[in-house]
Amino acid sequence: MKTENIKFIQGNEACVEGALYAGLDFFAGYPITPSTEIAELLSSRLPQKGGKFIQMEDEIASMSAIIGASLTGSKVMTATSGPGFSLMQEALGYAIMTEIPCVIVNVQRGGPSTGIPTHVSQGDVNQTRWGTHGDHAIVALTASNHQDVFETTVEAFNISETYRTPVVLLYDEVVGHMRERLRVPEEGELALVDRLRTSVSEGVDYHPYLPREDGRLPMSDFGGVHRYNVTGLFHDMWGFPSDNPKVVHGLLRHLVDKIQNNVNQMARFKEFYLKDAECILISYGSSARSARHVVEYLRPRGERIGLLELQTLWPFPHDIVNEKCANAKYMVVVEMNMGQIMREVKRAVKNPERVFLANRIDGVFIAPRDIRDILRIIQGKGV
């Protein structure tokens, strides 16, 4: 193992390393705690490889700029936190509607509003799902350690290119600012999905919004030989506005189905001691670290407890969660919000009354002791 590939860095830096590994060419952003390190690092790393970094006037503009850049063939990303993510919802919907690949990092802090900027939260899970208006689908990934931050970042770019969709990386302040070891994989070690470009030659009618048989939509770079229209209005296969009910219905179904029909392909998760577990902790992001600690602590003490760590939050893998929890007596969702993923777990399992919540919502990282204390209450062992 090459020692130069070993780094001791922040999660935000691991995200940058993953993005560059995935082939990031263009970043537009606006400073915001606790994601700023991503912009700072990319302002030096991107031009070093001939890429572009721009600090825009706000997050609305940042999101708009990456969409524009993506249309020219660049792999693009922006990074922000709650308040900035709120501002990005408008253009996030545009990227969904126009099917433009892009990656949005939200290093979560406490909200609502300005909230608690330097402290951890996982309160933006449902905003990610439903923040922009109208029916739509979204992809959101998360991770609890730097190796996984790296890999989910690469995966975000891959999903984004494969399905022509924005992908949100929903990290949190603890993962973003914590320092730990990262081994940067060798070139070729992780698969990369490149932009699928059309093979239609010049002069032949190109349909930017006509899916191939496999459902993928080959793109043509702006500035290339195919001139077409991109609009946030409902549009036909050439990209021109249409209010034909069949076109409207067809496009909306396509936008939702292309994600929802591939929920299992996109589902990333890790499982620990699930096989005989009576109690399953379900967690994600930094809170999954504490949940893992609890499991490792209680197992040798005779408790049949396991952990399901989710890395894909949206589309939520209902069937997989149901299957993994089928033999458990009860489930405890560990998260730092008021039960946003707990709600999905309740919708997924056959015994929703056996789903409990172990959370903290005070800006303090949920510790193993917090989870154990709640477990004792759930188990009727007293406070």
Binding site: P47, E57, S70, T72, G223, P241
Partner: protein, 267 residues
């Protein structure tokens, strides 16, 4: 190429009202592009939302119909990613200077090589005649039924103060001048702004009793004057037309190329 080769003919007739000035702007722009012999593949038109922004649907360029007010931000991404492309960004007055005001001043400040065209008809037409930041004090609109107490921006002064390196104004009456200005704006290395006074007989004209489309164009003729003219000295209320600012200053993308050079050298 002939002008017709630059349009998407199947979408005509256009959606603009009879008498609307936006068709004249389109005509002028296409004549300019045709006269300059530009290739369709090298032009990206980015527009926002509103009557003006529908212009991008009619031209056979790479066209990006974006969000209300955000056209310049999208265009900034396209341009910085592919600086060799020519970016033309037509916007309405509300689009460019109300909801898009922040993007407008920052694009100007960066001096990024985009051609911003503000099609100023003094009103929100698409939504039915509400007052815009360019309607002006004392005008009437569907949201100013008594009178408008908002003062207007002067687009030229705003663009100049924000750092635009090419700033001009013309009207739909002065199509010859307009075409010449548009040509220089497109050729300009840096952020160029062209404000075009264009008539909205349906809403602004009707609400403010300005008569027919032809009357409104006559009004442009009678109430504007070349920059620094004798008439302006005699009547300060006249609106000046022409090129106000045209100066050289390093363009943003070429400045960024120097950053790349430095970064690659390691300093």
């Amino acid at each position: 190429m002939a002008i017709k080769d630059y349009i998407r003919e199947r979408f005509f007739p256009h959606i603009w009202c009879p008498g609307c000035g936006h068709g004249t702007v389109l005509n002028s722009l296409l004549r300019t592009v045709s006269q300059m012999g530009m290739s369709r593949n090298e032009i990206v038109m980015v527009s926002g939302i509103g009557c003006s922004s529908r212009i991008s649907g009619y031209v056979d360029f790479h066209t990006l119909h974006t969000l209300h007010g955000r056209a310049l931000a999208f265009a900034t991404g396209v341009k910085l990613s592919r600086p060799e492309l020519n970016l033309i960004v037509p916007m309405g007055d509300g689009d460019a200077l109300a909801i898009g005001g922040n993007h407008f001043i920052h694009a100007a400040r960066r001096n990024i090589g985009l051609t911003a065209i503000v099609m100023n008809n003094c009103i929100y037409g698409m939504t039915g005649g509400q007052y815009s930041p360019l309607s002006g004090h004392g005008t009437l609109a569907t949201t100013a039924p008594f009178t408008n107490i908002d003062y207007a921006f002067d687009t030229v002064e705003l663009a100049t103060a924000a750092g635009a390196t090419f700033v001009a104004r013309s009207t739909t009456y002065h199509v010859q001048q307009l075409a010449k200005i548009l040509k220089q704006a497109i050729l300009h290395e840096g952020f160029s702004v062209v404000e075009i006074l264009t008539q909205c007989p349906t809403y602004f004209g009707r609400k403010n009793r300005l008569g027919s489309a032809a009357d409104m164009m006559e009004h442009f003729k009678d109430n504007t004057t070349p920059i620094g003219s004798k008439a302006k000295k005699e009547n300060p209320d006249l609106i000046e037309r022409g090129i106000f600012i045209q100066k050289e200053k390093p363009e943003y993308c070429s400045e960024y190329d120097k950053i790349i050079e430095r970064a690659m050298k390691g300093n």
